[in-house]
C-alpha cells in the first residue's frame, strides 16, 4: 500500500495524477470541516476545491512533522476561517441568520421522508449544532467524526490542547442544555432509546 510520503514524493516529482488519490482520501475530512463551518451550502464545494488547490501548491513545503490529515485539516480550517471573515460571520458567537433557507442547512430537511426524520432527536441535535459558534462546531467535527485527539485538533486550529478540551466540553454542555430546555417533553431524550 502506498504511504502518504510516497504519494507526495510522486506528486512533487511530476506525477500530478497521483494527486487524485490524495483528493479521494481526504475529501471527506475537508467536506466535514466545511460542512460544519460554512453555513451556506452553495459555498462549500468551491471552498473544498480551494483547499485542495492550496494543498497541491504547498505540498513541497510539507515536512511530515504532523500527519498529512492534520496538515490538510489545518488548511481547510484556515480557508474556512478566511471565508467566514470575508462574510463577516463571527467565529465565536452563536450563528443563526435571520433569513435562513432550507438549502442553507444542506443535509437537513429535503424530502418528506427526511422531514419526518428531521423530527427525531438527531434532527433536533443537528439544528442545535448549527446554532453553535463555528469554532465549537469544528472541534466537535474533528473530535467525533475524524477521531482526532485534543493535540491534533490543537495543531489544526492553532490553539493549545487544553483550550480544545475546554471548548469541546463547553460545546457539548451547551448542546445538552439547549436540548433539555427546548425539547424537555421529548420522550426519547428524557427516557431513552
Amino acid at each position: 500500500m502506498t504511504t502518504d510520503r510516497e504519494t507526495i514524493e510522486k506528486i512533487i516529482a511530476g506525477d500530478t495524477l497521483q494527486f487524485r488519490v490524495v483528493i479521494e482520501q481526504y475529501k471527506r475530512l475537508v467536506y466535514n470541516i466545511a460542512f460544519r463551518m460554512v453555513p451556506n451550502a452553495a459555498d462549500r464545494e468551491d471552498l473544498c476545491q480551494d483547499v485542495f488547490v492550496k494543498v497541491y501548491q504547498n505540498l513541497s513545503s510539507f515536512q511530515f512533522e504532523s500527519k498529512l490529515s492534520t496538515w490538510i485539516a489545518r488548511i481547510a480550517f484556515n480557508t474556512c476561517v478566511n471565508h467566514l471573515k470575508k462574510k463577516r460571520v463571527p467565529l465565536f458567537h452563536d450563528f443563526m441568520p435571520e433569513k435562513v433557507s432550507v438549502e442553507d442547512f444542506g443535509d437537513l430537511a429535503k424530502s418528506p421522508y427526511e422531514e419526518m426524520e428531521h423530527t427525531d432527536i438527531a434532527g433536533k441535535i443537528e439544528i442545535e449544532i448549527e446554532k453553535l459558534p463555528a469554532v465549537f462546531r469544528t472541534i466537535l467535527t474533528l473530535f467525533h467524526l475524524e477521531q482526532m485527539s485534543y493535540e491534533e485538533i490543537g495543531k489544526t486550529m492553532a490553539m493549545p490542547a487544553g483550550t480544545v478540551k475546554s471548548y469541546l466540553f463547553r460545546a457539548r454542555k451547551l448542546l445538552k442544555e439547549r436540548l433539555t430546555r427546548h425539547y424537555v417533553q421529548e420522550e426519547l431524550w428524557e427516557r431513552g432509546i
Binding site: 512533487i12 464545494e45 476545491q49 497541491y56 501548491q57 443535509d107 466540553f169
Partner: protein, 169 residues
C-alpha cells in the same frame, strides 16, 4: 449503599474514553444517582448523534474540477524553478532565431549553422540595420530588443530569487 454523583466534566471525560456508543452503554458506571444517570444518558444520545457522518454532498466531478483548476494554477516549486530557468533561455533562443531570420530572410540550416549564426547575430544585426530603411530598422530593432529584454528580465528575476513566490495559506 449510597449512589455516586458525577460532575458534568467527569461524565464527558468518561464518555470520551469510550470508543463506541455500544461500549459507552455497556461500560456505563453503576450505582449512580438518578440525576447523574439521566445526564449520562442524555450525553450518550448526544455523542451517538455527533458520531454520525453527514452525507458528503460533493459533485461527481469534484476531483476532475480540481485537477482542471490545477492545470492552470501555479506549478509546484520544483517545476516553477525549471520553468523559470527554461523560459529566459527559450526567449533568448527565439529572439536569436527571429533576428537571424529577419536579417537573412532564410531559415537556419543545421545545429552548427545555428550556433555560428547566433554568435554572429549581433554583427549581422548591426550591419543590416545600417543598410535597411528607417521604418524597417525601427520595427526590427524594437521587436528583437523586446524579445531579448524579456528573456533577460526573466533570467534576472530567477537569479534574484524573486520570480518564485513564497507559498502562503
Amino acid at each position: 449503599m449510597g449512589t455516586r454523583h458525577l460532575s458534568d466534566e467527569e461524565i464527558q471525560d468518561y464518555l470520551d474514553r469510550q470508543q463506541s456508543f455500544a461500549q459507552r452503554k455497556k461500560n456505563a458506571p453503576t450505582k449512580l444517582s438518578a440525576k447523574t444517570q439521566k445526564e449520562l444518558f442524555q450525553y450518550q444520545v448526544l455523542y451517538n448523534t455527533l458520531d454520525r457522518q453527514p452525507e458528503t454532498r460533493l459533485s461527481s466531478t469534484f476531483e476532475n474540477a480540481i485537477l482542471t483548476r490545477l492545470s492552470i494554477a501555479p506549478l509546484p516549486q520544483t517545476e516553477r524553478l525549471a520553468l523559470y530557468l527554461l523560459l529566459p533561455l527559450t526567449f533568448l533562443l527565439v529572439g536569436a532565431f527571429v533576428s537571424i531570420y529577419w536579417l537573412n530572410g532564410t531559415s537556419a540550416h543545421g545545429l552548427v549553422g545555428v550556433g555560428k549564426q547566433t554568435l554572429r547575430m549581433f554583427i549581422l544585426f548591426a550591419r543590416h540595420i545600417a543598410n535597411a530603411g528607417l521604418s524597417l530598422k525601427l520595427i526590427g530593432l524594437g521587436c528583437s530588443t523586446m524579445i531579448i529584454l524579456g528573456g533577460l528580465d526573466n533570467l534576472i528575476r530567477l537569479l534574484k530569487g524573486s520570480g518564485i513566490s513564497k507559498p502562503h495559506f
